[in-house]
């Protein structure tokens, strides 16, 4: 599987070319949020705010009121923790078309608890008028711009940066509110999001070989949540549902699926895989995914639990399925 680099950086420059109303804001993380290329290409449409996230959010609301579309960039963790009131009152209440791009979701940063956005979806999802998107690969990172363009209101995009796999066909762009069906099956429904979809893909074929039929769905729109899709798929499977997310199990994908199942009265079992009501700490993505039970093996254990079976897979088997080259250009420590 090929990795592609700086997808957000390149696509934003190309996409915003003929959109003079698009202005880009940065809170002293211009290279880190991949808007350096935009800054250098359209210096007149780039605004630097230093570490004034609260001010930056309110300012974005002000500009949006006058017909501009601010694309606010920072690390996911800083926007909803440091500037939540400003997002709610200066942007979301007036339903203004501000695009808020949060980078380094969950444990994708070695920066530790201060840098890891582990509850952003729970919080942003609770805000009225807010649309919440999480991208899962290069195709989604580049197609999210067109996908959210018609939305007349604020959008939060939990975005990926750096070297990103391309899991989905570029001819199938991200569509708001439409999940991707990656495999059909009749035993369990698996809803995964963000980087967990790539992780899940490492085991779904192995599970199939082990005789477990998985209905695997990649979810990119957390709000408005397409409960209808979840209900339809869940009602087709025999044993139950697994959700798999790079986020706390409280308030994110797992909760959204639980709400949908409960409201429909389906009574299916649900196993939520994610951070188990804990903060994380600094370390590599691979280490953190294993330590906090967010890796492919954790998914296998979840399937075992749901089906009450034992599957002959260990870490060694999964190693063999990892096909992606690790490029030297990946610098996880570059904050």
């Amino acid at each position: 599987m090929a990795l592609e680099s700086r997808v957000h950086a390149r696509k934003l420059v190309e996409w915003a070319k003929d959109k003079p109303e698009v202005v880009v804001f940065s809170a002293d993380l211009t290279s880190s949020t991949e808007v350096d290329l935009f800054r250098d290409t359209y210096p007149d449409r780039f605004y630097s705010f230093g570490m004034t996230e609260q001010n930056m959010m309110s300012f974005a609301g002000g500009m949006a009121r006058e017909g501009f579309t601010p694309f606010v960039h920072t690390f996911a963790v800083f926007l909803y923790r440091r500037a939540l009131d400003q997002i709610e009152m200066s942007i979301a209440y007036p339903n203004l078309p501000v695009r808020i791009f949060g980078f380094l979701p969950g444990i994708t940063t070695p920066g530790g608890a201060t840098h890891q956005a582990i509850d952003d979806i729970a919080i942003m999802r609770a805000i009225p008028n807010m649309t919440v998107i999480e991208t899962g690969d290069a195709t989604e990172v580049e197609s999210v711009f067109d996908a959210i363009q018609p939305i007349r209101g604020p959008v939060y995009v939990r975005q990926l940066r750096g070297d990103i796999p391309r899991l989905f066909d570029p001819a199938e762009p991200l569509q708001v509110g439409k999940a991707r069906i990656l495999s059909r099956g009749s035993d369990i429904a698996l809803f995964s999001s963000g980087i967990c979809t790539e992780e899940a893909l490492k085991v779904t074929s192995i599970l199939r070989e082990a005789g477990v039929s998985v209905y695997h769905v990649h979810v990119n729109t957390l709000k408005p949540f397409n409960a209808h899709e979840v209900i339809e798929i869940t009602s087709k499977v025999k044993y139950g549902v697994i959700t798999f997310e790079n986020h706390t199990i409280i308030g994110g994908l797992g909760s959204a699926v639980a709400e949908a199942i409960a409201e429909a009265g389906l009574g299916k079992r649900l196993i939520r895989i994610g951070l188990r009501d804990t903060f994380a700490h600094g370390g590599s993505k691979t280490y953190l995914m294993k330590y906090y039970g967010l890796d492919a093996l954790a998914l296998v254990r979840g399937v075992e639990q749901l089906l009450d079976i034992h599957i002959e897979i260990d870490e060694h088997d999964l190693q063999a399925t990892v096909q992606q080259p690790i490029r030297s250009a990946s610098k996880a420590e570059d904050l």
């Binding site: 004034t52 001010n55 002000g62 601010p70």
Partner: protein, 310 residues
């Protein structure tokens, strides 16, 4: 309306007096209210609306319409209270009130300057009304969500930058309270205004030295707002906030690249000396007993020129 022979400041002073009179009347009938804010802000608001700001006639209904529901993709009926401040035009000024706990004083002003019917004041804090106790953007004279204090200045800065990009010449006036200069975001906004040279932004600060807990200097000392702002690179004037000519003067200077701040030193008991007895707790006036209320009633009668009622 004032006689043709009167000067602008006589008219402005009369408007300021009218704000105090109407808010006092309301406070008595409501058995409580944000009275000290009207006392300190009366001349500032009156000077802005009658002298400083270039705004058009109100485009709103003289009687405030009922609550239209909150803004959303599915609500086409939402409206802005800014329509009371006239149309949006490139050459016209805009007004943004930040401490919307002063909403009652602003509503009283809108009545005094003929932008809202006196009936609008009677809707204050009534269920289903837009004349809300703490103003929202659908409330008469309001344009922003500012009730969580310290957010309006950044929003106004964003509006000012956008207007500059669009070639607008109108200025952007923000009314603030001194308590907001405790807030980190206020200083972030000042940095931004200075950095982006947003000199179309003019800020009037009602420096009444009061906050919800009492005197600002005892709650959290902030020292000289003027010196702090100057150190940030802003253009600052400190004036007597009850002197309408002194208030108007800084706005007449041509912009010089720096955001303009006018620190208006005010007295929260100005015009209603009875309030002095309530120091240091002036944030919200609730009468202790009937006897106290009666004294305020008698004072109101005096303000009205011996006539009962407003």
């Amino acid at each position: 309306m004032q006689a043709i022979s009167t000067t602008w400041h006589e008219h402005t002073k009369r408007v300021a007096h009218g704000i105090r009179r109407r808010v006092l009347d309301f406070t008595i009938r409501n058995n409580g209210g944000y009275l000290s804010q009207a006392c300190s802000a009366a001349e500032i608001l009156a000077t802005l609306y009658t002298r400083v700001m270039r705004i058009g006639e109100s485009c709103a209904s003289r009687i405030p319409p009922p609550f239209p529901g909150v803004p959303s993709r599915t609500n086409p009926n939402y409206f802005s209270g800014a329509a009371y401040n006239g149309p949006y035009k490139p050459e016209l000024d805009r007004f943004f009130i930040s401490p919307v706990h002063c909403a009652l004083a602003l509503y009283a002003l809108l009545v005094e300057v003929g932008r809202m019917d006196a009936q609008g004041l009677e809707m204050f804090n009534k269920d289903g009304s837009t004349v809300e106790m703490i103003g929202a953007e659908h409330s008469p004279g309001h344009e922003l969500m500012a009730g969580s204090l310290g957010q309006a200045l950044s929003q106004a800065a964003g509006i000012a930058l956008a207007r500059r990009l669009k070639g607008h010449t109108g200025r952007n006036w923000v009314f603030m309270s001194d308590g907001e200069f405790w807030i980190g975001q206020t200083w972030e906004a000042v940095e931004t205004l200075v950095f982006y040279k947003l000199d179309t932004v003019g800020v009037y600060i009602d420096a009444n030295g009061q906050s919800a807990d009492g005197a600002i200097e005892t709650v959290m000392e902030i020292g000289s707002i003027k010196e702090r702002l100057a150190a940030f690179g802003a253009r600052v004037f400190e004036v007597d906030g009850h002197d309408v000519e002194a208030l108007a003067a800084p706005a007449e200077l041509p912009p010089d690249g720096r955001p303009l701040f006018v620190v208006a030193r005010t007295n929260p008991c100005q015009g209603i000396p009875l309030l002095e007895e309530r120091r240091p707790r002036l944030h919200y006036v609730r009468f202790k007993d009937e006897a106290e209320k009666q004294r305020y009633r008698e004072f109101l009668m005096m303000m009205n020129g011996g006539i009962h009622g407003a």
